[in-house]
Protein backbone atom coordinates (compact mmCIF):
# COMPACT_ATOMS: atom_id res chain seq x y z
CA UNK A 1 0.00 0.00 0.00
CA UNK A 2 1.51 3.29 -1.10
CA UNK A 3 1.35 6.45 0.98
CA UNK A 4 -1.33 7.97 -1.26
CA UNK A 5 -3.48 4.88 -1.09
CA UNK A 6 -3.11 4.85 2.69
CA UNK A 7 -4.28 8.47 2.93
CA UNK A 8 -7.34 7.75 0.83
CA UNK A 9 -8.16 4.60 2.80
CA UNK A 10 -7.75 6.28 6.16
CA UNK A 11 -9.87 9.31 5.26
CA UNK A 12 -12.58 7.02 3.97
CA UNK A 13 -12.59 5.05 7.18
CA UNK A 14 -12.69 8.25 9.21
CA UNK A 15 -15.58 9.51 7.09
CA UNK A 16 -17.58 6.35 7.58
CA UNK A 17 -16.99 6.22 11.31
CA UNK A 18 -18.02 9.85 11.75
CA UNK A 19 -21.19 9.36 9.76
CA UNK A 20 -22.16 6.07 11.37
CA UNK A 21 -21.52 7.25 14.92
CA UNK A 22 -23.66 10.37 14.48
CA UNK A 23 -20.80 12.76 15.20
CA UNK A 24 -21.26 14.43 11.82
CA UNK A 25 -24.90 15.15 12.58
CA UNK A 26 -24.04 16.63 15.92
CA UNK A 27 -21.26 18.84 14.61
CA UNK A 28 -23.43 20.00 11.70
CA UNK A 29 -26.19 21.02 14.03
CA UNK A 30 -23.78 23.31 15.81
CA UNK A 31 -21.87 24.68 12.82
CA UNK A 32 -24.73 25.04 10.34
CA UNK A 33 -26.15 28.26 11.82
CA UNK A 34 -22.68 29.78 12.05
CA UNK A 35 -21.88 28.87 8.44
CA UNK A 36 -25.21 30.20 7.22
CA UNK A 37 -24.83 33.42 9.22
CA UNK A 38 -21.41 34.03 7.72
CA UNK A 39 -22.56 33.26 4.19
CA UNK A 40 -25.66 35.41 4.13
CA UNK A 41 -24.07 38.43 5.75
CA UNK A 42 -21.14 38.69 3.37
CA UNK A 43 -22.71 38.30 -0.06
CA UNK A 44 -20.28 39.59 -2.66
CA UNK A 45 -22.06 40.34 -5.94
CA UNK A 46 -20.10 40.59 -9.16
CA UNK A 47 -19.45 44.13 -10.40
CA UNK A 48 -20.91 43.61 -13.85
CA UNK A 49 -23.05 46.39 -15.26
CA UNK A 50 -24.99 45.49 -18.36
CA UNK A 51 -27.74 48.05 -18.94
CA UNK A 52 -30.21 50.40 -17.23
CA UNK A 53 -30.40 48.37 -14.01
CA UNK A 54 -26.64 48.84 -13.59
CA UNK A 55 -27.34 52.49 -12.75
CA UNK A 56 -29.74 51.41 -10.03
CA UNK A 57 -27.12 48.94 -8.86
CA UNK A 58 -24.69 51.85 -8.56
CA UNK A 59 -27.34 53.95 -6.81
CA UNK A 60 -27.96 51.13 -4.34
CA UNK A 61 -24.33 51.17 -3.28
CA UNK A 62 -24.33 54.99 -3.09
CA UNK A 63 -24.99 56.89 0.16
CA UNK A 64 -28.78 57.04 0.12
CA UNK A 65 -29.26 53.26 0.09
CA UNK A 66 -25.82 52.04 1.06
CA UNK A 67 -25.99 48.33 0.25
CA UNK A 68 -22.78 47.76 2.14
CA UNK A 69 -24.60 47.86 5.49
CA UNK A 70 -26.18 44.51 4.54
CA UNK A 71 -22.82 43.09 3.54
CA UNK A 72 -23.17 43.43 -0.24
CA UNK A 73 -19.74 44.46 -1.44
CA UNK A 74 -19.25 44.56 -5.21
CA UNK A 75 -16.13 42.76 -6.36
CA UNK A 76 -14.60 42.94 -9.80
CA UNK A 77 -13.36 39.39 -10.21
CA UNK A 78 -15.80 36.48 -10.55
CA UNK A 79 -13.46 34.36 -8.47
CA UNK A 80 -14.16 36.47 -5.39
CA UNK A 81 -17.93 36.51 -5.77
CA UNK A 82 -20.96 34.63 -4.45
CA UNK A 83 -23.72 36.32 -6.39
CA UNK A 84 -24.06 36.92 -10.11
CA UNK A 85 -26.32 39.94 -10.50
CA UNK A 86 -27.66 39.95 -14.06
CA UNK A 87 -28.90 43.47 -14.70
CA UNK A 88 -29.89 43.92 -18.29
CA UNK A 89 -30.78 42.29 -21.56
CA UNK A 90 -28.68 39.33 -22.63
CA UNK A 91 -27.79 39.37 -26.29
CA UNK A 92 -26.60 36.32 -28.14
CA UNK A 93 -23.11 37.82 -28.23
CA UNK A 94 -23.03 38.17 -24.44
CA UNK A 95 -24.61 34.82 -23.63
CA UNK A 96 -21.44 32.64 -23.80
CA UNK A 97 -19.47 35.22 -21.79
CA UNK A 98 -22.11 35.32 -19.07
CA UNK A 99 -22.18 31.55 -18.88
CA UNK A 100 -18.41 31.54 -18.53
CA UNK A 101 -18.55 34.15 -15.76
CA UNK A 102 -21.06 31.97 -13.95
CA UNK A 103 -18.82 28.95 -14.26
CA UNK A 104 -15.79 30.90 -13.05
CA UNK A 105 -17.48 31.70 -9.76
CA UNK A 106 -16.67 29.32 -6.90
CA UNK A 107 -19.39 27.40 -5.08
CA UNK A 108 -21.59 28.23 -3.26
CA UNK A 109 -23.09 30.72 -5.71
CA UNK A 110 -26.43 32.31 -6.43
CA UNK A 111 -27.87 34.19 -9.37
CA UNK A 112 -30.15 37.22 -9.14
CA UNK A 113 -32.04 38.31 -12.26
CA UNK A 114 -32.72 42.04 -11.98
CA UNK A 115 -35.22 43.77 -14.25
CA UNK A 116 -37.63 42.66 -16.92
CA UNK A 117 -34.98 42.05 -19.56
CA UNK A 118 -33.09 39.54 -17.45
CA UNK A 119 -36.31 37.85 -16.34
CA UNK A 120 -38.10 37.45 -19.64
CA UNK A 121 -36.71 39.69 -22.37
CA UNK A 122 -38.79 42.69 -21.29
CA UNK A 123 -39.45 45.32 -23.94
CA UNK A 124 -37.29 43.41 -26.39
CA UNK A 125 -39.66 40.46 -26.48
CA UNK A 126 -39.65 40.33 -30.28
CA UNK A 127 -35.99 41.12 -30.87
CA UNK A 128 -33.89 38.81 -32.99
CA UNK A 129 -30.80 39.18 -30.84
CA UNK A 130 -32.02 39.15 -27.24
CA UNK A 131 -32.12 35.96 -25.18
CA UNK A 132 -35.59 35.73 -23.64
CA UNK A 133 -34.62 35.48 -20.00
CA UNK A 134 -31.43 34.56 -18.21
CA UNK A 135 -33.01 31.43 -16.73
CA UNK A 136 -32.88 29.81 -20.15
CA UNK A 137 -29.20 29.05 -19.59
CA UNK A 138 -28.32 29.84 -15.94
CA UNK A 139 -30.28 28.70 -12.86
CA UNK A 140 -31.80 31.79 -11.22
CA UNK A 141 -32.55 32.08 -7.49
CA UNK A 142 -34.20 35.47 -7.18
CA UNK A 143 -36.16 37.53 -9.71
CA UNK A 144 -36.48 41.28 -9.09
CA UNK A 145 -39.22 42.71 -11.33
CA UNK A 146 -39.21 46.31 -12.56
CA UNK A 147 -37.98 48.30 -15.52
CA UNK A 148 -35.66 49.23 -13.93
CA UNK A 149 -36.41 48.21 -10.33
CA UNK A 150 -35.78 50.88 -7.74
CA UNK A 151 -32.77 50.43 -5.44
CA UNK A 152 -35.14 49.54 -2.60
CA UNK A 153 -36.49 46.70 -4.71
CA UNK A 154 -32.98 45.51 -5.41
CA UNK A 155 -32.10 45.52 -1.71
CA UNK A 156 -35.35 43.70 -0.99
CA UNK A 157 -34.39 41.04 -3.51
CA UNK A 158 -31.04 40.59 -1.83
CA UNK A 159 -32.71 40.30 1.57
CA UNK A 160 -34.93 37.60 0.09
CA UNK A 161 -31.78 35.85 -1.05
CA UNK A 162 -30.48 36.02 2.52
CA UNK A 163 -33.70 34.37 3.68
CA UNK A 164 -33.23 31.69 1.09
CA UNK A 165 -29.70 30.98 2.29
CA UNK A 166 -30.89 30.84 5.88
CA UNK A 167 -33.35 28.11 5.01
CA UNK A 168 -31.26 26.05 2.66
CA UNK A 169 -27.72 25.83 3.99
CA UNK A 170 -26.32 22.33 4.12
CA UNK A 171 -23.98 20.81 6.69
CA UNK A 172 -20.36 21.79 6.65
CA UNK A 173 -18.51 19.00 8.42
CA UNK A 174 -17.44 16.35 5.87
CA UNK A 175 -19.04 17.06 2.50
CA UNK A 176 -22.55 15.81 1.93
Amino acid sequence: MSAKEFMEWSSQVFDEVMRASGVKRGVDKITRPIWSWALRNSLFPLHFGIACCALEMAAASAPRWDAERFGFVFRSSPRQCDVLLVNGWITSKLRPDLRRLYEQMPEPKWVVAMGECAISGGPWYDSYNVVQGVDTFIPVDIHIPGCPPRPEAMLDGFLKLQDKIRHSTKGTFLED
Binding site: A51, C52, A54, E56, R64, K93, L94, D126, S127, V130
Partner: protein, 360 residues
Protein backbone atom coordinates in the same frame (compact mmCIF):
# COMPACT_ATOMS: atom_id res chain seq x y z
CA UNK B 1 10.25 43.46 -26.32
CA UNK B 2 7.51 41.07 -27.36
CA UNK B 3 4.24 42.62 -28.41
CA UNK B 4 0.97 41.15 -27.27
CA UNK B 5 -2.75 41.77 -27.31
CA UNK B 6 -4.63 42.36 -24.05
CA UNK B 7 -8.38 42.02 -23.79
CA UNK B 8 -10.03 44.49 -21.42
CA UNK B 9 -13.62 43.40 -21.17
CA UNK B 10 -16.41 42.54 -21.47
CA UNK B 11 -16.27 42.03 -17.71
CA UNK B 12 -13.67 44.49 -16.52
CA UNK B 13 -13.84 47.27 -13.93
CA UNK B 14 -12.62 49.73 -16.56
CA UNK B 15 -15.62 49.27 -18.88
CA UNK B 16 -18.62 51.32 -17.85
CA UNK B 17 -21.09 49.37 -19.80
CA UNK B 18 -20.42 46.31 -21.76
CA UNK B 19 -17.71 46.38 -24.37
CA UNK B 20 -14.32 45.01 -25.04
CA UNK B 21 -11.15 46.98 -25.60
CA UNK B 22 -8.33 45.09 -27.21
CA UNK B 23 -4.99 46.80 -26.80
CA UNK B 24 -1.71 45.78 -28.34
CA UNK B 25 1.08 46.54 -25.94
CA UNK B 26 4.84 46.71 -26.24
CA UNK B 27 5.88 46.33 -22.64
CA UNK B 28 3.67 48.89 -20.95
CA UNK B 29 3.15 51.14 -23.96
CA UNK B 30 0.02 50.89 -26.09
CA UNK B 31 0.82 50.73 -29.78
CA UNK B 32 -2.58 49.78 -31.10
CA UNK B 33 -6.12 49.66 -29.76
CA UNK B 34 -9.28 48.15 -31.11
CA UNK B 35 -12.72 48.63 -29.50
CA UNK B 36 -15.16 45.73 -29.84
CA UNK B 37 -18.76 46.80 -29.37
CA UNK B 38 -22.05 45.01 -30.01
CA UNK B 39 -22.60 43.20 -26.72
CA UNK B 40 -25.82 45.12 -26.19
CA UNK B 41 -27.17 45.05 -29.74
CA UNK B 42 -30.87 44.25 -29.61
CA UNK B 43 -31.93 45.42 -33.07
CA UNK B 44 -33.47 48.68 -31.89
CA UNK B 45 -33.90 50.16 -35.35
CA UNK B 46 -35.57 47.01 -36.62
CA UNK B 47 -37.89 46.79 -33.59
CA UNK B 48 -39.20 50.30 -34.21
CA UNK B 49 -40.53 49.22 -37.59
CA UNK B 50 -43.07 47.03 -35.76
CA UNK B 51 -44.23 49.68 -33.27
CA UNK B 52 -46.61 52.61 -33.69
CA UNK B 53 -45.16 56.08 -33.20
CA UNK B 54 -46.21 56.58 -29.54
CA UNK B 55 -45.06 53.06 -28.66
CA UNK B 56 -41.47 53.92 -29.59
CA UNK B 57 -41.12 56.61 -26.90
CA UNK B 58 -40.49 54.17 -24.01
CA UNK B 59 -38.10 52.22 -26.23
CA UNK B 60 -36.10 55.35 -27.00
CA UNK B 61 -35.83 55.96 -23.24
CA UNK B 62 -33.82 52.77 -23.07
CA UNK B 63 -31.42 53.84 -25.83
CA UNK B 64 -29.17 55.59 -23.38
CA UNK B 65 -30.20 55.03 -19.81
CA UNK B 66 -27.76 57.64 -18.51
CA UNK B 67 -29.65 60.36 -20.35
CA UNK B 68 -32.96 58.80 -21.34
CA UNK B 69 -34.82 62.09 -21.39
CA UNK B 70 -32.73 63.54 -24.20
CA UNK B 71 -33.23 60.46 -26.38
CA UNK B 72 -37.00 60.36 -26.06
CA UNK B 73 -36.97 64.11 -26.65
CA UNK B 74 -34.89 63.60 -29.79
CA UNK B 75 -37.31 60.98 -31.04
CA UNK B 76 -40.28 63.26 -30.42
CA UNK B 77 -38.50 66.12 -32.21
CA UNK B 78 -37.91 63.94 -35.27
CA UNK B 79 -41.50 62.71 -35.40
CA UNK B 80 -42.88 66.22 -34.82
CA UNK B 81 -40.93 67.40 -37.81
CA UNK B 82 -42.18 64.45 -39.83
CA UNK B 83 -45.81 65.08 -38.93
CA UNK B 84 -45.53 68.85 -38.92
CA UNK B 85 -46.75 69.27 -35.34
CA UNK B 86 -46.31 72.63 -33.64
CA UNK B 87 -45.36 72.26 -29.99
CA UNK B 88 -46.86 74.77 -27.49
CA UNK B 89 -44.32 77.12 -25.99
CA UNK B 90 -44.92 75.99 -22.42
CA UNK B 91 -44.08 72.43 -23.46
CA UNK B 92 -40.82 73.64 -24.99
CA UNK B 93 -39.85 75.31 -21.72
CA UNK B 94 -40.77 72.24 -19.68
CA UNK B 95 -38.66 70.16 -22.04
CA UNK B 96 -35.67 72.44 -21.65
CA UNK B 97 -35.97 72.25 -17.87
CA UNK B 98 -36.14 68.47 -17.71
CA UNK B 99 -33.41 68.12 -20.35
CA UNK B 100 -31.02 70.30 -18.38
CA UNK B 101 -31.85 68.52 -15.13
CA UNK B 102 -31.13 65.28 -16.97
CA UNK B 103 -27.84 66.68 -18.22
CA UNK B 104 -26.79 67.51 -14.69
CA UNK B 105 -27.77 64.03 -13.48
CA UNK B 106 -25.90 62.41 -16.36
CA UNK B 107 -22.74 64.43 -15.76
CA UNK B 108 -22.94 63.68 -12.04
CA UNK B 109 -23.12 60.00 -12.86
CA UNK B 110 -20.03 60.49 -15.02
CA UNK B 111 -18.15 62.34 -12.27
CA UNK B 112 -19.02 59.57 -9.84
CA UNK B 113 -17.86 56.82 -12.18
CA UNK B 114 -14.70 58.73 -13.06
CA UNK B 115 -13.92 59.09 -9.38
CA UNK B 116 -14.08 55.33 -8.85
CA UNK B 117 -11.90 54.82 -11.92
CA UNK B 118 -9.16 56.99 -10.52
CA UNK B 119 -9.36 55.80 -6.93
CA UNK B 120 -11.30 58.81 -5.69
CA UNK B 121 -14.11 57.03 -3.90
CA UNK B 122 -15.13 60.15 -1.97
CA UNK B 123 -16.01 61.73 -5.29
CA UNK B 124 -18.26 58.79 -6.08
CA UNK B 125 -20.23 59.02 -2.85
CA UNK B 126 -20.59 62.79 -3.03
CA UNK B 127 -21.68 62.90 -6.66
CA UNK B 128 -24.14 60.04 -6.27
CA UNK B 129 -25.65 61.78 -3.25
CA UNK B 130 -26.34 64.94 -5.21
CA UNK B 131 -27.55 62.98 -8.22
CA UNK B 132 -30.43 61.73 -6.08
CA UNK B 133 -31.61 65.34 -5.72
CA UNK B 134 -32.10 65.63 -9.45
CA UNK B 135 -33.57 62.17 -9.80
CA UNK B 136 -36.08 63.16 -7.11
CA UNK B 137 -36.98 66.29 -9.07
CA UNK B 138 -37.40 64.31 -12.28
CA UNK B 139 -39.38 61.71 -10.40
CA UNK B 140 -41.76 64.36 -9.11
CA UNK B 141 -42.34 65.43 -12.72
CA UNK B 142 -42.43 62.08 -14.48
CA UNK B 143 -42.91 59.38 -11.88
CA UNK B 144 -39.78 57.39 -12.72
CA UNK B 145 -36.17 57.54 -11.70
CA UNK B 146 -34.31 56.57 -14.83
CA UNK B 147 -36.58 55.70 -17.73
CA UNK B 148 -39.10 58.52 -17.80
CA UNK B 149 -41.38 58.09 -20.82
CA UNK B 150 -42.19 61.77 -20.45
CA UNK B 151 -41.95 63.69 -23.76
CA UNK B 152 -44.83 63.15 -26.13
CA UNK B 153 -45.25 63.83 -29.82
CA UNK B 154 -46.63 67.36 -29.61
CA UNK B 155 -45.66 68.26 -26.08
CA UNK B 156 -45.07 66.54 -22.77
CA UNK B 157 -47.15 64.01 -20.87
CA UNK B 158 -48.14 66.18 -17.93
CA UNK B 159 -47.58 69.63 -16.56
CA UNK B 160 -45.01 70.38 -13.88
CA UNK B 161 -46.33 69.52 -10.42
CA UNK B 162 -47.33 72.20 -7.94
CA UNK B 163 -44.39 73.78 -6.13
CA UNK B 164 -41.93 72.27 -8.58
CA UNK B 165 -40.31 75.67 -9.03
CA UNK B 166 -39.67 76.00 -5.31
CA UNK B 167 -38.20 72.49 -5.02
CA UNK B 168 -36.11 72.97 -8.13
CA UNK B 169 -34.63 76.29 -7.02
CA UNK B 170 -33.91 74.88 -3.60
CA UNK B 171 -32.12 71.88 -5.12
CA UNK B 172 -30.12 74.09 -7.48
CA UNK B 173 -29.02 76.40 -4.66
CA UNK B 174 -27.85 73.43 -2.67
CA UNK B 175 -26.19 71.83 -5.68
CA UNK B 176 -24.20 74.88 -6.73
CA UNK B 177 -22.63 75.03 -3.31
CA UNK B 178 -21.79 71.35 -3.54
CA UNK B 179 -20.26 71.83 -6.97
CA UNK B 180 -17.60 74.05 -5.43
CA UNK B 181 -16.94 71.27 -2.97
CA UNK B 182 -16.39 68.79 -5.80
CA UNK B 183 -13.90 71.11 -7.40
CA UNK B 184 -12.03 71.22 -4.13
CA UNK B 185 -12.01 67.43 -3.95
CA UNK B 186 -11.08 66.76 -7.55
CA UNK B 187 -8.81 69.68 -8.35
CA UNK B 188 -7.23 69.45 -4.93
CA UNK B 189 -6.28 65.83 -5.43
CA UNK B 190 -2.74 65.56 -6.68
CA UNK B 191 -3.32 62.00 -7.88
CA UNK B 192 -6.31 63.08 -9.92
CA UNK B 193 -4.34 65.86 -11.58
CA UNK B 194 -1.36 63.61 -12.30
CA UNK B 195 -3.55 60.96 -13.86
CA UNK B 196 -5.58 63.33 -16.04
CA UNK B 197 -3.38 66.23 -17.09
CA UNK B 198 -1.54 65.66 -20.38
CA UNK B 199 -3.10 62.22 -20.64
CA UNK B 200 -5.33 61.18 -23.52
CA UNK B 201 -4.70 64.13 -25.78
CA UNK B 202 -7.25 64.41 -28.58
CA UNK B 203 -6.11 67.08 -31.02
CA UNK B 204 -8.87 69.27 -32.49
CA UNK B 205 -8.13 68.08 -36.02
CA UNK B 206 -8.26 64.43 -34.97
CA UNK B 207 -11.46 65.04 -33.09
CA UNK B 208 -13.17 66.74 -36.00
CA UNK B 209 -11.93 64.24 -38.57
CA UNK B 210 -13.13 61.29 -36.52
CA UNK B 211 -16.52 62.87 -35.88
CA UNK B 212 -16.20 63.23 -32.12
CA UNK B 213 -18.84 65.58 -30.69
CA UNK B 214 -20.08 66.90 -27.41
CA UNK B 215 -18.01 67.57 -24.31
CA UNK B 216 -15.18 65.44 -25.72
CA UNK B 217 -14.75 67.80 -28.67
CA UNK B 218 -15.35 70.92 -26.59
CA UNK B 219 -12.59 69.66 -24.34
CA UNK B 220 -10.33 70.05 -27.35
CA UNK B 221 -11.25 73.71 -27.64
CA UNK B 222 -13.63 73.40 -30.61
CA UNK B 223 -16.69 75.57 -30.26
CA UNK B 224 -19.46 73.17 -31.25
CA UNK B 225 -22.66 72.89 -29.29
CA UNK B 226 -25.88 72.26 -31.16
CA UNK B 227 -27.83 74.19 -28.58
CA UNK B 228 -25.92 77.24 -29.80
CA UNK B 229 -24.89 76.46 -33.38
CA UNK B 230 -28.19 74.88 -34.49
CA UNK B 231 -30.69 75.83 -31.79
CA UNK B 232 -33.72 73.65 -31.26
CA UNK B 233 -36.52 74.06 -28.74
CA UNK B 234 -36.16 77.44 -26.99
CA UNK B 235 -32.43 77.47 -26.42
CA UNK B 236 -32.04 80.53 -28.64
CA UNK B 237 -34.32 82.54 -26.34
CA UNK B 238 -32.16 81.87 -23.32
CA UNK B 239 -28.86 83.45 -22.47
CA UNK B 240 -25.99 81.10 -21.81
CA UNK B 241 -22.42 80.40 -22.85
CA UNK B 242 -20.78 77.47 -24.50
CA UNK B 243 -18.23 75.72 -22.27
CA UNK B 244 -14.92 74.86 -23.89
CA UNK B 245 -11.43 74.18 -22.66
CA UNK B 246 -8.27 74.39 -24.80
CA UNK B 247 -6.16 71.66 -23.16
CA UNK B 248 -7.36 68.63 -25.20
CA UNK B 249 -6.60 66.15 -22.38
CA UNK B 250 -8.71 64.22 -19.86
CA UNK B 251 -8.57 67.12 -17.45
CA UNK B 252 -10.05 69.46 -20.06
CA UNK B 253 -12.95 67.07 -20.64
CA UNK B 254 -13.53 66.98 -16.89
CA UNK B 255 -13.47 70.79 -16.71
CA UNK B 256 -15.96 71.09 -19.58
CA UNK B 257 -18.43 68.80 -17.83
CA UNK B 258 -18.09 70.67 -14.54
CA UNK B 259 -18.73 73.99 -16.31
CA UNK B 260 -21.66 72.50 -18.18
CA UNK B 261 -23.33 71.49 -14.95
CA UNK B 262 -23.04 75.06 -13.71
CA UNK B 263 -24.38 76.34 -17.01
CA UNK B 264 -27.28 73.87 -16.96
CA UNK B 265 -28.29 75.10 -13.53
CA UNK B 266 -28.20 78.65 -14.91
CA UNK B 267 -30.38 77.64 -17.88
CA UNK B 268 -32.92 75.93 -15.63
CA UNK B 269 -33.25 79.03 -13.48
CA UNK B 270 -33.85 81.19 -16.54
CA UNK B 271 -36.34 78.80 -18.07
CA UNK B 272 -38.27 78.61 -14.80
CA UNK B 273 -38.56 82.36 -14.65
CA UNK B 274 -39.51 82.78 -18.31
CA UNK B 275 -42.00 79.92 -18.53
CA UNK B 276 -45.31 81.10 -20.04
CA UNK B 277 -48.71 79.67 -19.08
CA UNK B 278 -50.75 77.77 -21.60
CA UNK B 279 -51.32 74.26 -22.89
CA UNK B 280 -48.54 71.72 -22.61
CA UNK B 281 -49.63 69.26 -25.26
CA UNK B 282 -51.36 69.15 -28.62
CA UNK B 283 -52.88 66.12 -30.24
CA UNK B 284 -50.74 64.78 -33.05
CA UNK B 285 -52.11 62.98 -36.11
CA UNK B 286 -52.12 59.21 -35.99
CA UNK B 287 -50.44 58.56 -39.33
CA UNK B 288 -47.31 60.16 -40.69
CA UNK B 289 -47.11 61.47 -44.24
CA UNK B 290 -44.85 59.93 -46.88
CA UNK B 291 -41.68 61.87 -46.35
CA UNK B 292 -38.51 61.99 -44.30
CA UNK B 293 -37.41 64.07 -41.35
CA UNK B 294 -34.18 64.64 -39.46
CA UNK B 295 -33.69 65.98 -35.96
CA UNK B 296 -30.54 66.40 -33.96
CA UNK B 297 -29.92 67.45 -30.39
CA UNK B 298 -27.05 68.00 -28.04
CA UNK B 299 -27.10 64.93 -25.87
CA UNK B 300 -25.00 65.04 -22.66
CA UNK B 301 -22.55 62.85 -24.59
CA UNK B 302 -22.52 64.54 -27.96
CA UNK B 303 -24.62 65.00 -31.03
CA UNK B 304 -27.54 62.63 -31.35
CA UNK B 305 -29.42 62.41 -34.63
CA UNK B 306 -32.54 60.60 -35.74
CA UNK B 307 -33.72 60.14 -39.29
CA UNK B 308 -37.30 58.98 -39.80
CA UNK B 309 -38.99 57.82 -42.98
CA UNK B 310 -42.76 57.83 -42.85
CA UNK B 311 -44.83 55.78 -45.29
CA UNK B 312 -48.38 56.97 -44.63
CA UNK B 313 -49.10 54.44 -41.88
CA UNK B 314 -48.87 54.69 -38.09
CA UNK B 315 -45.51 52.93 -38.04
CA UNK B 316 -42.19 54.32 -39.27
CA UNK B 317 -40.76 52.75 -42.39
CA UNK B 318 -37.24 53.31 -41.11
CA UNK B 319 -35.75 55.00 -38.08
CA UNK B 320 -32.02 55.61 -38.10
CA UNK B 321 -30.10 56.65 -35.00
CA UNK B 322 -26.76 58.40 -34.98
CA UNK B 323 -25.16 57.76 -31.64
CA UNK B 324 -22.43 60.11 -30.39
CA UNK B 325 -20.56 57.45 -28.46
CA UNK B 326 -20.46 54.99 -31.34
CA UNK B 327 -18.55 57.66 -33.24
CA UNK B 328 -16.42 58.74 -30.27
CA UNK B 329 -15.33 55.18 -29.62
CA UNK B 330 -13.84 55.05 -33.09
CA UNK B 331 -11.43 57.75 -31.92
CA UNK B 332 -10.12 55.44 -29.21
CA UNK B 333 -7.11 54.16 -31.22
CA UNK B 334 -6.07 57.74 -31.95
CA UNK B 335 -6.34 58.78 -28.31
CA UNK B 336 -4.78 55.72 -26.70
CA UNK B 337 -1.72 55.31 -28.90
CA UNK B 338 1.52 55.99 -27.05
CA UNK B 339 0.13 55.97 -23.51
CA UNK B 340 0.65 53.34 -20.83
CA UNK B 341 -1.78 50.56 -19.98
CA UNK B 342 -2.41 52.18 -16.60
CA UNK B 343 -3.77 55.26 -18.39
CA UNK B 344 -6.56 53.31 -20.08
CA UNK B 345 -9.15 53.75 -17.26
CA UNK B 346 -8.41 57.48 -17.07
CA UNK B 347 -8.74 57.96 -20.82
CA UNK B 348 -11.72 55.72 -21.44
CA UNK B 349 -13.49 57.05 -18.38
CA UNK B 350 -13.18 60.58 -19.71
CA UNK B 351 -15.05 59.64 -22.90
CA UNK B 352 -18.24 58.93 -20.89
CA UNK B 353 -19.28 55.69 -22.52
CA UNK B 354 -22.91 54.67 -22.79
CA UNK B 355 -23.24 51.37 -24.55
CA UNK B 356 -27.00 51.24 -24.89
CA UNK B 357 -27.01 53.86 -27.63
CA UNK B 358 -23.76 52.65 -29.14
CA UNK B 359 -24.98 49.16 -29.92
CA UNK B 360 -28.66 50.02 -30.30
Amino acid sequence: MAEMWINMGPQHPMTHGLWNLRVKVDGETIIEAEPVVGYLHRGWEKLTENRTYPQIIPLSDRLCYGASMSWSHLYCLAVEELMGVEVPERAEYIRVIVLELQRIASHLMWIAAYGTDLGLLTGFTYAMRERELFLDLLQSVTGARITYNYPRIGGVRNDLPAEFERDCLRALDFFEKKLDEYELIYDGSKIFLMRTQDVGVLTPSDGMNLGVTGPNLRGSGVKVDLRKTDPYSVYDELEWDMCTHPDCDCYARYRVRMEEMRMSAYIVRQALSKMPPGPFRVKPPRNAPKRTAVARVEDPRGEGLMYVIGDGTDKPYRLKVRSPIFVSVSAVPAILRGYKVADVPAIMGSIDMCLGETDR
